[in-house]
Symmetry: D2
Subunit: 331 residues, 4 copies
């Protein structure tokens, strides 16, 4: 059994802590959060120790791996601390919102040889994983185009937005990683348009955007198209399409029931989409944790790495730059 | 070019006349209807002669075939007249609502060797025809169960109902023919329940029903289930399912667009179904006419015969008897 | 926390034991099974005591409720033992396969005032439950017809079939309960056809059938149609349709992914259905256990009762009788 | 009845001639084609005169309107000839592949006050038209993003490609028009990536591309994303999605049947898509012709104009330029 500590008892911390607790591969040893009651509630419920001192938790002898779900600007120091202590790491994105700091931390991590996995949950969605397997098996031939649709159910609060790093680093970054995961070749060029259509005043005040269209190109000419919006009245819209020389694979949205409804005005209407990522990717989070623990158990390479985080961030930065300059940006 | 006369200028007469007029295999020679303006309007619009005398039209030398769309009780005399005059016949169902008269007319028709086709339109629906072809090709192995859903958009007027012969002979008869068409074996036993749920007072006054569930069994034990209702608020519901040892084929409902709509309360909602049979089976009526004319041209056997009409009627009678007796009826 | 013992460590015992162990409302105290290693493995994994003596487990002071997942012929004695010991019961169907014994046990249970719930899992499927709620809210007006499709992925082994009580008591009984749950009125008449199409030799040798069509009628004339088959190559087919005066609700099949696939021969193809009931109704089993525990906590009436078990069995017996006699059977 | 001549007896000429012949608003007077047998076959079949002299046909007194389906480089001279002769025009796209010539011809047409409609068929697809109506009715609030997918079934022959004007002017131009039709605001900026993935050698030799991703932006920040490919093994893929502040509307693909198929490996598989534009847009072509004739009858403005053709071409040129420069192009 792998001893796991979860750092950060917020939304993602709760998810990961529950998945660790439910896993047959691991034991939840401790939960750390500077807000003592948050740590205690979560730890208490799952039979783990609570602490307000992440560094102390990292050093515990019975902790083999840490899951980092703290605010973004603490990710690098915590990863490095864990790595230096010889602990494996599963870290929520981003490594950092600053590319230079990311590069520096990757350099520093390298010689420490610690397994570090970046939590790109969408790769572990069962349908996305199935698509990747099908592509690898040649089921749709050579990939030509990837079309990603990502719309959040509603604009986050002003305070969240102000510290988010902007829509590209906060939201579209997931799609950039999914693009890399599915297109099967590194993007070499990025272009994006960004609009202020949901709450123009608010996002303009933050020098941010709420609605984005982005285009990626790989060296061989494959294309990926991404559309994102911070608000969709019909729920959390998460779709994937991969078009290849021999077929097409699509990941539809998920609902909580399989109900269809027909009445005087409409037929075969389906239920609203799952509300947001916690529900939509619940199975992906379980699979992600399992993949992390299974790799630790077997000593296999981690399914994702800080370099993946770095590359997604680089695409996000490039897209943001493209919006400023009206030019595509080479990667 | 086959010279065709259409007898009866009502709803079905108009459909058939238009399909004859548009066919490259035929010429619409005349339209007959006792109501002179009805005949004239239809004939005039399609460049044919109008007449109030069906018998005279049948006798015309330039008429090779007649399409009978007159009231049910005139079908037998008109078919016999046409047959005696050596003219081919496409006749709307039923041959007659009385099984004895049907049997007598079949006996009388036999020696006349006239091609007579019964207009069971649903066999010519492109999807139903595709299902039949797939079954013949062994694509779903041995048929085990056929599930038919037939719901009209609304209760017909009292006057129509009073002369309809009852829901089994008027409405469910189409499903009995579809069952025979798809199940690939003659039904040998029938059972039905019938209810009064749409307009209990009206249908009770007419000694009729408006909602029906029927079960058929073939000699080898295959089953067909039919559910019918005279009213469905979401439109004309026409679905077919054939379940076999190696797979299942389903014929979904048809809409006028391919629109899907998502909003705050619902996702992927589709448009209402096509209103009623004229729209839903427009393509089936064209294919039906073409199959009739093609068989005439080539001398091939008609795709359906009076015996098919007889068998569907027998099933309808048996179902009605079953409702009275609470016993299944052997065919 | 409610102390729960699970009697029987087979497939269903495992499911229920896991759901008890994961519930915040209960504690899994013990698992009993005459096969000692079966009890020990399951109990050990979930941190409960193992026993080969069900009666001793029932008597334990820390056991407030028992879940009965033992062979059918032990259900009545175990329920009665639990009831006499003042323990609540969740019992897998059937109470017993013999109606007289069922009636006797219900009479015996009555004065003991023990909460006894029959485990009709399909009522707790999220979509079926949603349909029931929608009907209660008047969303589709008055129910007219219920159409149930139940096809197992494959014929069970001969040994299972030989002790199953026949397809009506073993398999169709679930649909009879679902019919009662959704149609909103007690069925008063039943008719069925049964065939031997999957493995004619085997099922004939057992005086059983493998393919069934059944029709129910309520007092007001509502109808329910059920089609069942012991084998479907495309997987465990579980569909529900409720048609009412103001609309229609349908419960589609469930897949493990939301993948759609298009290639040279086909478009929008979806993945196979979930393999069988353990997977298909995983969420229903969780909801069922929660409903049982929540009713115990609050003292509310159980959502289902032995009388529900009795009524479903009565319908199964009537359907089997109808197959023998060719007559509908009044309930 | 409006007298109509069709110029050009190729694929599009045949479609339009048939729709004129079937229309109650018009009479097909003549078909002109320099290849005499082509004109004669088509005209003969539809009861019209045949000619090899388009100019003579334009001048006929019984010709009120001409439909131009000739090679692209003859469009401008024929439109101008018709306009000078006071005849209305329905012209296949493009007006011309050269923007300067288009501008000159629009200037020349202006004072002639002839009704000229550009044949952008997709606007008349029933579902696209329904989407436009729904947007106008405010059903999805403010449009934010339009996602267009256009994939041809297969690469056209080399000879066609060589004279096509390139993928942007030949193929993507339809999507640019659809974008303008649906987004409800003029695009002000365009960017595109283009690849050679279907037949790299052939399209490189022609200095063309076969796979395209394009992004448009309107003044208020709305976005349109277009993905095109010259080949899709699963058929002619034509999808539209419009996402707005209050909902989303999608136009799915069209099949020739409503069949669903389930077997051992797959469930709910649908039939292949309609083969190509002649089949996919058959109803759109009928509606387009009817809109043209109805506008002529009523004197209402044409639903599309040469300026629409000009704007779509401008977007195509801009997209092509963007591929060369790696910069977005302002319109």
């Amino acid at each position: 059994m792998i001893g796991v500590a979860v750092l950060g008892a917020g939304r993602m911390g709760r998810i990961h802590a529950e998945n660790v607790a439910a896993s047959a591969r691991a034991r939840l040893v401790a939960v750390a959060d500077p807000v003592s009651p948050a740590a205690e509630t979560l730890a208490g419920r799952l039979g783990a120790d609570a602490s307000t001192d992440a560094q102390a938790v990292i050093r515990r002898a019975d902790v083999d791996a840490v899951v980092i779900c703290t605010p973004s600007d603490t990710h690098v120091p915590l990863i490095l601390a864990a790595a230096r202590a010889g602990k494996a790491v599963l870290c929520e994105k981003p490594l950092d919102n600053d590319l230079a700091r990311v590069d520096a931390s990757i350099l520093e991590l390298e010689p420490l040889k610690t397994p570090v996995m970046m939590a790109f949950n969408r790769r572990f969605d069962p349908t996305n994983a199935r698509i990747r397997t099908a592509i690898d098996a040649g089921e749709i031939g050579d990939v030509r185009q990837v079309i990603l649709t990502s719309r959040d159910p509603g604009l986050p609060p002003r305070d969240y937005l102000a510290h988010s790093g902007g829509i590209f680093r906060d939201m579209v970054i997931h799609d950039f990683d999914t693009a890399r995961f599915l297109i099967g070749e590194e993007p070499v060029e990025v272009f994006a348009f960004a609009g202020r259509l949901v709450d123009p005043e608010l996002v303009a005040a933050l020098d941010d955007y709420d609605t984005v269209g982005a285009l990626l190109r790989t060296g061989s000419g494959r294309q990926c198209v991404i559309t994102c919006c911070r608000e969709a009245v019909y729920g959390y819209d998460q779709r994937v399409e991969v078009f290849g020389s021999r077929g097409m694979l699509q990941n539809d949205n998920v609902r909580s029931t399989t109900l269809r409804r027909s009445d005087a005005g409409t037929t075969d209407a389906r239920e609203p989409l799952l509300p947001f990522f916690l529900e939509r990717y619940a199975e992906a989070y379980r699979n992600e944790m399992d993949a992390f623990l299974a790799a630790l158990e077997s000593g296999a390479p981690m399914p994702t790495s800080p370099v993946d985080g770095r590359r997604a961030l680089r695409l996000a930065d490039a897209a943001a730059e493209s919006v400023q300059t009206g030019r595509s940006v080479a990667i």
